[in-house]
């Protein structure tokens, strides 16, 4: 079972991101479970959502406390909450920022993980570019697909089409694709 935790803020499509991730996994014939940390959070408040992916029925209903991957849609959260809680050393991190880890002051922290598994991507910029609004969740999924290798970019695109349609869907797919490519390039760079 692969467990993903997504951090973000109300309005950034955190829950939708988890749902799309589960849809993408479902489309690949796997079992998936997506759910938010329930609350009455309004726009701007910190939000968490989860996604479990497995090859058999997922019965577990507890929140993801030891994630295999983290998707952090808003870097400002780093200063407020312990977003990395429970993440194992083999874990994956995708962080939405247009700064480098060094610029974020995370260089030392990132040393604890495998370099090709801790990737930054300017998801906000990409969403503004392709969709016209701050919806980093979709490019983050694209990046996650690249980083984790858990789901294909095609599945992500299909999940996007499940949630959106028309121009919005195509914009999001373009954003996800670009994020995927950026992440892929950064992974290769980190590997190198």
């Amino acid at each position: 079972m692969f467990q993903v935790r997504i951090h973000g803020r109300g309005g950034q499509g955190v829950v939708t991101g988890a749902e799309m991730l589960s849809i993408a996994a479902f489309l690949e014939g796997r079992h998936a479970q997506a759910f938010p940390s329930f609350g009455s959070e309004r726009t701007g408040a910190p939000v968490v959502a989860f996604c479990r992916i497995a090859d058999k029925e997922i019965r577990l209903r507890e929140p993801v406390m030891e994630p295999d991957a983290l998707i952090i849609q808003d870097a400002t959260l780093l200063a407020q909450i312990d977003v990395f809680a429970g993440l194992s050393e083999n874990g994956y991190v995708v962080l939405n920022t247009n700064h480098t880890l060094e610029e974020m002051g995370l260089a030392e922290f990132a040393q604890r993980f495998r370099a090709e598994r801790v990737i930054t991507v300017s998801a906000t910029d990409l969403s503004l570019k392709h969709v016209g609004r701050n919806a980093p969740n979709v490019p983050m999924l694209g990046a996650f697909a690249a980083v984790s290798g858990l789901i294909s970019l095609d599945s992500v695109a299909a999940a996007i089409r499940d949630k959106f349609s028309g121009k919005v869907a195509e914009g999001n797919i373009a954003a996800a694709t670009e994020a995927y490519n950026i992440a892929k390039a950064r992974m290769e760079a980190a590997h190198a």
Partner: protein, 417 residues
């Protein structure tokens, strides 16, 4: 057809497939997504010949449902929490009148303090209201149970509450095998009411009944629920024939045959418990779980039969009977009357507190060693409780409890920070 969707959506589709004729909608999280989904389907014409009514309160929701059901329409509504309490008078009325309304209760706590998260306090408060109450473990089952609920309700002329954990199920995206319309039509015939407001054959429904007949009426309500004990497994079996999967029934045993320790629980927490049990079984521990699907009627015989080999029973319930302890546990005790078994009550998950495998491991092991107190509150923060109790002992104007605790929690956090 398999699909990955939200629990609420799965329920909405299942209800739609049941060809409802009147749907009463009042928003209260977390059932809102269900009626939103239904509203859209009615408006788009995906549900034919159906009236969707945006009512002004839960009391009105159930009242409209009473009217439409009495007038012969298959009627559905959904509620939760305070909403259920606001409609209570009509809830009792619907069952008293024997109207086969189906209602989703997306289980949630009731306040004060106000709380929007999941537990079973709402539907448990209505355990004696005369409705049949069935609990869903998964979204698949939630969907399936709604289809079964209409059949059950209409055969008995009794209303049915389908209870599903709010947020945990309603807001969870997971795989659901959605039945086809043909399957549902084959399973669920059109509504043929036992009593109806019909100008061609007028009757008076809802007479005032005095002491001379009231006991008989109440007994008959009980007798009907006893009939449901036979009907629920039968409907579940019919369902399996058409849809090819187990859903519903009275109880659901898991790893029970040889289990010395048996956990009893309702709803979605059964999944977490099963994972926990798998882990404990791997450690060679003799433990199993019995899910209760039908809480009302309470399947006394089925439970007694299932627990015949158990030495000890842990009733893990998301509700609290203040002043005594367990609600489900009390019923289980009645079911096991005369049998020599240790019965532990574990109150868990109140107001949405997470029930984690690690906590379950801890409390199950304590029970196995008979080290658990008879009434246990899972993961209770004693320091906070004691602090407040102390404050109340020493200060007359000790202030509001909930706010005090929140302040204490905040201090605890900043201390950590």
């Amino acid at each position: 057809m398999l699909k990955q969707c939200e629990g609420s959506h799965a329920v909405a589709e299942a209800v739609a497939l049941s060809r409802p004729e009147v749907i009463c909608a009042y928003p209260i999280s977390p059932q809102t997504h269900i009626v939103e989904g239904l509203g859209e389907m009615v408006k788009k014409g995906d549900i034919k010949d159906c009236e969707y009514i945006n009512v002004e309160s839960e009391f009105a929701a159930m009242s409209v449902a009473i009217g439409s059901s009495a007038a012969g329409a298959r009627t559905y509504t959904a509620t939760a929490s305070q909403g259920l309490l606001f409609m209570v008078e009509a809830v009792y009325n619907a069952s008293g009148l024997g109207l086969p309304i189906v209602m989703t209760v997306a289980n949630r706590a009731i306040g004060a303090p106000i709380n929007i998260w999941n537990d079973h306090s709402d539907s448990m408060s209505q355990r004696d209201c005369g409705w049949i109450q069935i609990f869903a473990e998964t979204n698949q089952e939630a969907a399936d149970l709604h289809i079964q609920a209409f059949k059950l309700a209409e055969e008995l002329s009794l209303p049915v509450m389908v209870c599903m954990d709010g947020f945990i199920l309603t807001h969870a995206y997971e795989r659901v095998d959605m039945p086809t319309q043909e399957q549902v039509d084959a399973f669920l015939p059109p509504y043929s009411p036992r009593q109806i407001l019909d100008p061609a054959a007028p009757v008076s429904i809802g007479a005032m009944v005095g002491p001379e007949a009231f006991s008989e009426v109440r007994y008959l309500a009980h007798a009907k629920q006893m009939q449901a004990l036979e009907l629920i497994p039968k409907i579940s079996a019919q369902f399996k024939e058409i849809f090819g999967r187990d859903s519903g029934g009275l109880v659901r045993p898991y790893m029970l045959e040889d289990a010395e320790t048996v956990v009893i629980a309702l709803g979605s927490v059964l999944g977490t418990i099963k994972d926990t049990i798998d882990e404990m079984r791997a450690d060679g521990i003799s433990i199993g779980v019995l899910g209760i699907n039908s809480f009302r009627p309470f399947p006394v015989s089925a439970i007694r039969r299932s627990l015949s080999h158990a030495k000890r029973i842990i009733v893990l319930e998301k509700s609290l009977a203040v002043g005594i302890g367990g609600i489900v546990a009390t019923d289980v005790r009645m079911a096991l009357d005369g049998l020599d078994k240790r019965i532990y009550t574990v109150v868990a998950g109140l107001g949405g507190r997470n029930i984690t495998r690690s906590s379950l491991h801890r409390v199950f092991r304590l029970a196995m060693h008979d080290q658990l107190e008879a009434l246990h509150f899972l993961d209770l923060e004693w320091s906070i409780v004691n602090k407040e109790l102390d404050r109340e002992r020493t200060t007359r104007r000790s202030g509001p409890i909930a706010e005090n605790i929140l302040r204490d929690l905040g201090q605890a956090k900043s201390n950590v920070g």
